[in-house]
Amino acid sequence: MTTTISRRQFIRVSATAAGGLLIAAQLPACGGSKNLQADSGDFSPNAFLTFSEQGEITFTLPRAEMGQGTYTGLTTIIAEELEVDPQAIAILFAPADKAYNNPDYYNQMTGGSNSIKVHFSPLSQLGADTRQLFINAAAERLQVSPGECEASNALVTHTPSGRQLPYRDLLTLAATLDGVESTPLKKPAQYKYIGKQRQRLDAAAKTFGQAEFAIDVAIDNMLVAAIARPPVFGGKLIRFDASSAETMPGVHHVLAVDAGVAVVADNYWQAQQALQAVIIEWDHGKLAGLSSDSLFQHYRDAADADTGDKVRRDGNASKALAFASKVIEAEYTVPFLAHATMEPQNCVAHVQADRCDIWVPTQGPDLATVIASNITGLSHDQIHIHSSFLGGGFGRRILHDYLAEAVSISSAIGQPVKVIWSREDDIAHDSFRPATYNRLKAGLNEEGELLAWQHQIVGPSIMRQFIPNMLGAHVPEAMPDALVRFLGKTAGKAMGTVIADGSCTEGADDLPYSIPNLDVRYVHVDAGVPLLYWRSVGHSQNAFMVESFLDEAAHAAGSDPYQFRVGLLKEDPRRRAVLDKAAELGNWGNPAAGNRFQGIAVHKSFGSYVAQVAEIEIINEQIQVKHISCVVDCGLVVNPDIVRMQMESGVIFGLTAALYGEITHRDGRVEQSNFHDYPLLRMNETPTISVHIMESDEAPSGVGEPGVPPVLPAVANAVFAATGQRLRKAPLRLGQAQG
């Protein structure tokens, strides 16, 4: 294997350089046309690939890299058909441009664990067509038939004669040839890169401390801002006294902003120090009296007052329950959860008269553009979003509140500004995974068969809050702001009433179990707490209700929880297969030691099936998770090791939520502030994890989120096995009030 370019040149992936290079390589024309730039000699056959005469091959990554592996996975896909080693490709983060839309969303959001799924075929085709273009060019140059040529390692070889031409020598000629389409793709048996274990392409940069995150960006003449935000969400600034702060070292400005009060200084430390010296008076607003207790009471009252909108109805659950020989019922609750990305929120904005440059961690550069455009009045074309590696995403980087702050302040003071959120800002002023309240009822017959299942879900709708933020990216740029806002509000109101927000009920509405009478209902209640998508979204809540209450039904029937599920999964072979494999991998029925207990759960989300067996010990009244066996069916696998690490990732992320995660409110304020009171799982609390990937020829489905949902119920079920305590509230705490 030869690499035509030193990897060292691409180790330092700089957001600023990335933005600049991309603007040069990227002409305004969209995806289909080929561009050969006379001055640089660079050839861009499409919006994703650029070839230089020096042999540099650049791939513009259409999706964000937040640890989940798109940087490696998508590059591998196109490299395979292009016949170039993925490690020989330089990767740039895409700017805001429709060419890089997520085909599932019609915008540029990265999420839903769908990057591999949506890009597999299109990028494979692009790679193959580009390869064929070079083959055609080589054949033309050598005056031979393309059919006698093949490509490998960015080199075309005329097989009969052995003559070779590297891609870099064919650029000018390739630019003149007709475009190529529908080149036949490889069969999986021919794959050199897909499906083989490959190192992550960003592993070296991240291991040598060379990977640049937006928080690392510094530009000339930049100041740094720290912001005091209303302690209660929705509160407003009444007045502030900056007389002391203004005299402190490095301080340039203290000003009121939409978000609160900003101190702008030479550096972050100075800004933060001075911020502490600003005396601020707030009008706490409507949520001043909010407490977690009052919130959940509100949910209970809503459940009493309204049975809810129909989400799924099979048969007649109420009737079946009336005739059941055994009925069980329970209340389940889950709290708000913070994202807690390790890289706190941040943004560098440089607003000028005719352009605006923004360096920001984002899961949606086009959404970011709209926000910036609305604030500055600049057109979309005048706004340049420079993306970088994200120090964690989990859904947080879809909401660009931190970008709005930086853009407004830069606009106001006429200088580049970097906003950094402290960890306290990040926890308290997050937009959270919703808290929900659930009532479940199940009925069994004398034989212990599950005949009826009722689930009433009470909680808020993310989409209803979020849709105004997203709408701007979908409507024509020329549409007046006021109209976009109006549409956003209207659409938001429609959510949860006329149109169901699927994220509230996902995982609860698609029960695969053969239960003849099913009744799932949703009651919309919104206490006003800000909400956002959070890794696995509705599945992060509903897998708990479903897999734990199903466990309750199994025990009510006197059945083994694994066998009980097997009996109900006759119609779902893929789910049954992962469940069986997990039971095998986890030695179901044979825990590793006498003081260890097992719990099982299986859940499908984002197209993938995941089953887990948790093995726990109870030590000093504490739940200690010793081992998680995890089986995943995600269809065709591009990078097995990345699939494995995403399962490890989902398990550990899910365990933090299962054992610790809780955002609570008192007097309207979020009570948590840093990692001492919003703890994350640490190495010494982490179980061993074994992962098995099911062999599959199905189309690829996601792995970023699917590892998360089964963990909480698997552990809760193990806790029941260990103690007889049925924990129906997350985070799981022994001795907590039931239900």
Partner: protein, 167 residues
């Protein structure tokens, strides 16, 4: 002006003595490999070596570091001369988002410098101050155990060797 020695280079910085070393490293010396995660010494993302020992630079005033050798991730190793832990990190495909990784490596290297053959419990005890939101702990543990077991000193990363990852 404060005199600092970072990765064997001298710097003169005009920073207030109570400025946390983290911000001096990032904002004055412009070495951004060391990360800000919590500002309270709770997450370990800011870990650097002072006199070869891991400290949390976000809660260490720069004045305490004057005249003492400081090592950041940039000084731990590079592609041509990786620290053995960095080679192991690559073999085990450790990083995901990568943000916590410099702190993890600085903490791990400090552990091995003082205890070349730590037990699993000793590793966990030493490393549990370093948070990872992405869940790389199992691979970090394996990478540290591998280096501890191998007893090697300096190792060179062979860029021409096959890039296959250990099963």
């Amino acid at each position: 002006m404060l005199s600092l020695t970072i990765n064997e280079q001298s710097y003169e910085v005009d920073a207030a003595p109570d400025t946390p070393l983290l911000w001096v490293i990032r904002d004055f010396v412009k070495l951004t490999g060391t990360k800000f995660g919590c500002g309270k010494g709770l997450c370990g993302a800011c870990t650097v070596h002072l006199d070869g020992i891991a400290i949390r630079s976000c809660i260490t005033p720069v004045s305490a570091a004057v005249g003492r050798p400081i090592t950041t991730i940039e000084g731990l190793g590079n592609e041509q001369q990786p620290h053995p832990l960095q080679s192991a990190w690559l073999e085990h495909n450790v990083p995901q988002c990568g943000y916590c990784q410099p702190g993890q490596l600085m903490q791990a290297s400090s552990l091995l410098a003082s205890n070349a053959s730590p037990t699993e419990d000793e590793i966990k005890s030493a490393m549990s101050g370093n948070l990872c939101r992405c869940g790389t702990y199992p691979r970090i543990l394996k990478a540290i155990q591998q280096v501890a077991a191998s007893n090697t000193t300096a190792m060179f990363y062979d860029a021409t060797a096959p890039q296959d990852v250990k099963a």
